[in-house]
């Protein structure tokens, strides 16, 4: 049996090494928000390009980086969505198109607000917090100890900090944007995280019934040893799926898949190496306090 718990300080240090730079980055550079959050511009135009994909490819080749998407709206007419751009810049792009496809007829050019408004984000956060509270209550009830609930939620919080921090860093260095897909990825990660943690906790609960006399750290060690294979196996199946999606899937979902990949790894790690050690730390603190109150 590996004595996982005796290295608990190392686990917290590893987590801190990932989370602290992320938090610093969140303060310094914030998140690089996409057009879903900031709003942008739409431009409806008549161009004799063969189809929407070719037009998008051409704009990409000409380094028009503000393009978000190109949709066809009928014969030789397209709806191009941009990041926020000025009228002048649009005219430059129009000239580029005119050189290649001939005449460019403009139907409309409008700035538009975000798809994900502040209200939606705020309400989603409220939803997540509420769900976390319910989960805390449920886990605390099922395990008859509020610390189980709190540890599970702290592990979930750990995973959200990991993902938000890393994407803030990616945003600064690789221009990775936070979009609707990212919101979905974070929600997925949060549910996965708790799911995995509960399995480890369940084993601790079961073992404590079978071996009521073993010390708590030893019990947690035993539980980790018994669940780690299933944790790894389960994560591996998910990681296989995500790796094939990353390598073979389209460019559009690349960062979405990376977010899920990071979340899966972090979620697996946090269940065994954050949530379970937290239980031990809590127990130790409680015992110290008991002694202290007895002596004092």
């Amino acid at each position: 049996m590996i004595r996982f718990i005796s290295f608990k300080k190392i686990y917290f240090v590893i987590s801190a090494l990932v989370i602290v730079p992320g938090i610093v980055s969140l303060f310094l550079w914030k998140l690089n928000l996409s057009v879903d959050f900031t709003g942008g511009a739409i431009w409806e135009t008549g161009v004799s390009a063969p189809d929407a994909r070719k037009l998008e490819g051409f704009l990409g080749k000409k380094q028009v980086e503000e393009v978000v998407s190109v949709q066809s709206t009928g014969d030789k007419s397209y709806l191009i969505k941009f990041k926020p751009i000025t009228e002048e810049r649009k005219n430059v792009i129009s000239d580029v198109l005119a050189k290649k496809y001939g005449e460019v007829k403009e139907t409309r050019f409008e700035t538009v607000g975000p798809i994900l408004g502040g209200e939606l984000i705020f309400k989603t956060i409220i939803g997540v917090v509420l769900a976390a509270l319910f989960i805390l209550a449920y886990v605390a009830y099922q395990f008859k100890n509020k610390m189980y609930g709190i540890s599970a939620i702290l592990a979930m919080f750990h995973d959200s900090l990991v993902i938000l921090g890393l994407f803030s860093i990616f945003g600064h260095f690789f221009k990775v944007e936070i979009d609707t897909l990212f919101v979905t990825a974070v929600l997925t990660i949060l549910s996965f995280s708790v799911h995995d943690t509960v399995v480890v906790f369940d084993r601790i609960r079961e073992l404590s019934r079978i071996y009521p006399k073993i010390s708590f750290p030893e019990l947690v060690d035993k539980a980790i040893n018994e669940t780690i294979v299933r944790s790894l196996n389960n994560s591996l199946t998910i990681i296989f799926m995500l790796l094939t999606l990353l390598l073979l899937g389209g460019v559009t979902t690349k960062w979405f898949v990376i977010a899920l990949l990071i979340g899966t790894i972090s979620g697996t790690y946090s269940s065994t190496f954050v949530a379970a050690p937290l239980l031990v730390v809590w127990k130790e603190l409680m015992e110290k306090r008991k002694k202290w109150t007895k002596n004092g």
């Binding site: 709003g39 739409i42 929407a52 994909r53 998407s69 949709q71 066809s72 709206t73 009928g74 709806l79 700035t111 538009v112 607000g113 975000p114 798809i115 994900l116 939606l120 309400k123 989603t124 409220i126 939803g127 509420l130 769900a131 989960i135 449920y138 886990v139 599970a152 897909l181 919101v183 929600l187 997925t188 949060l190 549910s191 708790v194 799911h195 509960v198 906790f201 369940d202 084993r203 299933r230 196996n233 389960n234 591996l236 199946t237 998910i238 990681i239 296989f240 799926m241 995500l242 790796l243 094939t244 999606l245 073979l248 899937g249 389209g250 460019v251 559009t252 979902t253 898949v257 899920l260």
Partner: protein, 457 residues
């Protein structure tokens, strides 16, 4: 012993029938998926399947999102002439919120709704995926849905000068015999379609908020034996005679509704009325933002990933792994069938999420199989350790999945609580998450267990 064996076989037959049914619903999807290697597209062409001597025609198709299929874009112009300059942005935002609620009450469709302000033009752009009937879309989003209750005018009237311009406009909208009361659509807590117990005609039951109920009681009290008119967007819907004071805070709106009209109206009333009147500026069909290519690539990636998981399970758990793989296929079939039946709007991220859920669906199998391995190691023989494996793994499977269900429940917000979101995107996510959990519980436990009982001896 024989009795025990009889039951799993009937469960097996049920599972087979269920999978077969799901397969039939899924089929057109499969012709897309396995177009090249199997060339089955021709034999199942279109939506008609030529089995049982006759033709089984159905038009169930997976509903694709804006990125995969495009949809319809409606541009709305908001009429801001009665609204003070400084309030216009707020009014536009709240109109956007109401429209979003209306669209989302209609189902999980994942619309895009954006505002656009340029100069004096205040506009709202709505993109709806997979909507073919532009009339329906415009009907749904294009009415102000201002509900008012008006009583017969009494002679001594409030001097017109004391009214704000907004109130004046409202007064003007009401024919002279009726005067608006302070009770309006804002006082509703919910509206629902019900049917007249005598004629069976569709009607709308409304429930007032506590304050609305008080107002309604007062109004009905002072109008006994007089008509009380109900106006929608300034048009009289119905003007029933009040029989007695109504204190329960409930009322019924009757009128010459068709069922669809009644449904539409209840959606609009639930979503709230628009703070500004809007008109349709333009509507057009828009194409997909992503090419067929990205869809194909993701599907291929999904198939390969699925094979990897299958091989992994086989390598790790041997014959048990094969049974888990069969359960996984059943999972895929049922999930796809439900996506079509509900229908769930599938975007590229949704497909990625579905593929991910396949990876997660084997979790309960892994839990159970690891347990069986442990029991075997502790010296039990095969059959008891299998049953013990299923039994002991249940606690952790239950608790872990209930936690995920809690998350999806809160995010789906089934009661439309206003402090939680009703956005299509978050709801779509919650729905697919909940479906994934429910189906994987079924396949991971019921299906695998039955397969193990019948075939693994």
């Amino acid at each position: 012993m024989l009795d025990k064996l009889k039951r799993p076989k009937s469960v097996l037959i049920f599972i087979l029938l269920l999978s077969f049914g799901a397969l039939i619903i899924d089929l057109p999807k499969f012709t897309i998926k396995f177009d090249k290697p199997f060339k089955v597209e021709q034999s199942f062409g279109g939506y008609a399947i030529g089995w049982f001597g006759g033709k089984f025609v159905r038009d169930l198709q997976i509903k694709k999102g804006l990125d995969l299929q495009g949809g319809i874009q409606v541009t709305l112009q908001a009429d801001m002439k009665d609204i003070a300059e400084k309030d216009r942005k707020v009014a536009l935002e709240s109109a956007r919120g109401v429209l979003e609620r209306r669209v989302n009450f209609f189902g999980v469709t994942e619309p895009n709704i954006q505002t656009s302000v340029s100069g004096d033009n205040y506009r709202i752009l709505i993109e709806l995926p997979g909507v073919t009937d532009s009339k329906e879309a415009i009907q749904l989003i294009g009415q102000t849905a201002q509900l008012d209750f008006a009583e017969q005018k009494v002679l001594e009237e409030k001097p017109l000068d004391n009214l704000t311009p907004e109130e004046k406009e409202k007064q003007a909208a009401v024919p002279p015999v009726f005067a608006k009361t302070d009770l309006s659509g804002k006082d509703l807590s919910r509206a629902a379609v019900t049917f007249d117990s005598k004629t069976g005609a569709p009607q709308i039951s409304i429930e007032f908020t506590d304050e609305g109920a008080k107002k309604f009681a007062e109004i009905t009290k002072r109008n006994v034996q007089k008509p009380l008119a109900i106006f929608l967007d300034g048009v009289v819907l119905t003007a029933p005679i009040v029989q007695e004071e109504i204190t329960g805070g409930q009322a019924v709106i009757t009128g010459q509704f068709t069922l669809d009209e009644a449904k539409l109206l209840s959606v609009q009333l639930n979503a709230g009325s628009l703070p500004v009147s809007i008109s349709v500026l333009s509507q057009k069909n828009i194409g997909a933002t992503l090419g067929e290519e990205s869809l194909k690539r993701s599907l291929i990636a999904g198939v390969i990933g699925l094979m990897l998981v299958a091989i992994f399970m086989l390598g790790n758990y041997g014959r048990l792994g094969i049974l888990a793989d069969i359960a996984l296929i059943v999972y895929g079939l049922i999930t796809l069938a439900l996506y079509k039946l509900i229908p769930v709007t599938l975007t590229l991220s949704g497909i990625a999420g579905f593929i991910l859920s396949i990876g997660m669906a084997v979790d309960s199998n892994i839990l159970i199989f690891e347990r069986i391995k442990e029991e075997r190691r502790s010296g039990k023989s095969l059959l008891p350790s299998m049953e013990a494996g299923f039994g002991r793994a249940w606690d952790s499977i239950r608790d872990a999945n209930i936690c995920t269900l809690i998350t999806s429940f809160v995010l789906f917000n089934p009661f439309n609580w206003s402090f939680l979101n009703v956005s299509g995107m978050v709801r779509g996510f919650a729905l697919t998450l909940a479906l994934g959990i429910a189906i994987s519980l079924f396949t991971g436990i019921v299906v695998t267990r039955t397969l193990v009982r019948v075939f693994y001896r």
